[in-house]
């Protein structure tokens, strides 16, 4: 059971308070009607599924209810960064380097 930090509550809590919602920074095309089938399938289903450093969405569903993002190494399951929704994606390579990967 992972230990997850909620940047809104400023607290670490057990994973079961949270809901993981997959890869972060995939935004819904702003004008869906002008979006090609190809781009729509990318938005709906295509995921990096990275083996390594990965930015993903979490929601503190049994806490403050907020969505936020986390960077996690999917091999070690260690979190490298937590940040609030709306903040830009951090430099994953730099984070990986920092973590000694």
């Amino acid at each position: 059971m992972l230990l997850v930090y909620c940047p809104y509550c400023d607290v670490e809590r057990a994973e079961t308070e949270f809901s993981c919602r997959g890869q972060a920074h995939i935004s819904r095309p702003s004008d869906p009607s002008q979006t090609s089938d190809e781009d729509w399938v990318n938005y709906l289903y295509m995921r990096a599924n990275t083996k390594g450093v990965y930015a993903e969405r979490w929601r503190h569903i049994h806490g403050c209810g907020r969505f936020f993002n986390a960077v996690r190494d999917t091999v070690s399951d260690k979190f490298l960064k937590f940040y609030k929704a709306g903040e830009p994606m951090p430099d994953l390579e730099a984070l990986a380097k920092e973590a000694g990967k």
Partner: protein, 417 residues
């Protein structure tokens, strides 16, 4: 290849088993193969075996990062069944069942396919509707599946708790008698031995580090930790690592890889005759020939390549098992481990050509890949050999996610009301 038999065993007994040959070689890779299969799990080895046996393509290498059969093949709960809802899925898994039935004899390797029956419990009115829908659809598709009342279910599986007073009483069950279990390691080893005997090179401890494509975009070979290997056709059968391997060829996949846990109890004398699954309370269980209760747990909620999972997942699985089989509460867990399952958005596999000429992919089996092993290898070999899908795997394209022509096994079990 020396054929295995009682007689052979007896003969070898008198020479103190000193003369058994190797089940497969450990060759160094050649510079070039007709086909390179990436991943020596059950599906990859079966693909190589059928390429050699059915299509006469013997200049084949199966490249494996670790040891053969060491991924999900050696980590699953060994359930075999084919009672899937959609005719496309049922056809695929039933194709596998057909092959399972003669597999030991075909491979001359006892894979211990045991058709002890797979029972799927219904706990709610909605479960009953879903189960009945499966049964009727399966009957039309020629897939055996039948409805049992709670009493009949307990008769088939005496340890089952059919009391009306449990939280989610059993309202009945769908039974596929031809379903059951098989010995997972033996499946990998049997295919490895069979493929090796037909000339396939199984190259273990050899990681693929790149996929080389030519000017025309077609594949030219794989970069590996043992050097470049030329091949005009590459079949990727890398389960949880498919996204990583396909990325080397620049192909994005609609996949996510989750940790899936399983566990066994200490061995005990026969206590459980069949396989029981419950989707509603999330548990499945059987007993191995060795006597261990083999129990499947759920996936974690996040993707991971760690091959471990959280204890809360185990807790929920065991509480469900103990609710259905309350006397197992005093049994003890011996070993708990994780695998990495690759899951598609519609919970059905991808067995397909790809946008890259010469590159083929077989993935997305989620939690259910083991049961399909022979069928999957068989049709994938066809797809590679003919450069076009077999009738059975034709619907399982990557493109279905774009067009919306999903084969949605998960949706079909959606929660009602």
């Amino acid at each position: 290849m020396k054929r295995y038999s009682f007689l052979e065993l007896a003969k070898n007994a008198f020479s103190a088993h000193q003369n058994w040959g190797r089940q497969w070689r450990s060759p160094e890779p050649k510079a070039e193969y007709d086909v390179v299969i990436v991943g020596a799990g059950g599906h990859g080895l079966a693909t190589a075996y059928y390429l050699a046996k059915q299509h006469g393509i013997r200049n084949v290498a199966v490249i494996e990062k670790g040891w053969l059969g060491g991924g999900n093949t050696g980590r699953n709960t060994t359930i075999v069944r084919s009672n899937y809802l959609w005719e496309e899925s049922a056809a695929l898994y039933n194709h596998a069942i057909g092959l399972w039935q003669g597999l030991s004899q075909d491979l001359n390797y006892n894979v211990m396919y045991s058709s002890r029956g797979v029972m799927m419990l219904a706990h709610t009115v909605h479960d009953v509707q879903v189960a009945q829908r499966h049964i009727h659809a399966n009957r039309l598709a020629g897939v055996q599946n039948e409805w049992l009342t709670p009493e009949q279910a307990r008769e088939y599986c005496p340890p089952l708790n059919i009391s009306k007073n449990i939280r989610y009483p059993v309202m009945g069950a769908a039974l596929q008698r031809v379903g059951g279990t098989a010995r997972h390691d033996a499946v990998a080893w049997g295919y490895a031995r069979g493929a090796d005997d037909l000339g396939v090179d199984i190259i273990q401890n050899c990681a693929v580090t790149g996929i080389k494509r030519g000017q025309d975009g077609a594949v030219e070979g794989v970069e590996t930790s043992k050097g470049f290997i030329k091949a005009k056709k590459i079949g990727v059968v890398a389960a949880g690592h498919t996204s990583t391997v396909m990325d080397m060829a620049g192909v994005r996949m609609p996949l996510e890889s989750y940790p899936l846990q399983a566990l066994v109890s200490e061995p005990v004398k026969p206590a459980f005759p069949c396989v029981v699954m419950s989707n509603t309370i999330h548990a499945y269980i059987s007993q191995s020939d060795k006597g261990e209760l083999v129990i499947g747990a759920g996936t974690d909620q996040f993707i991971s390549y760690s091959q471990t999972g959280g204890i809360h997942i185990t807790n929920h699985t065991i509480d469900a098992i103990c609710e259905l089989f309350p006397h197992f509460r005093r049994m003890r867990m011996l070993r708990n481990w994780g695998g990495i399952v690759d899951v598609t958005p519609d919970r059905s596999p991808i067995l397909s050509k790809t946008p890259v000429p010469g590159l083929y992919v077989n993935c997305g089996w989620g939690t259910g890949g083991f049961k399909a092993t022979p069928g999957s290898g068989h049709v994938f070999a066809h797809t590679i050999a003919k450069d076009e899908p077999h009738r059975i795997n034709a619907p399982f394209t990557i493109d279905r996610f774009r067009t919306g022509r999903l084969i949605d096994e998960a949706a079909a079990a959606a929660v009602a009301h």
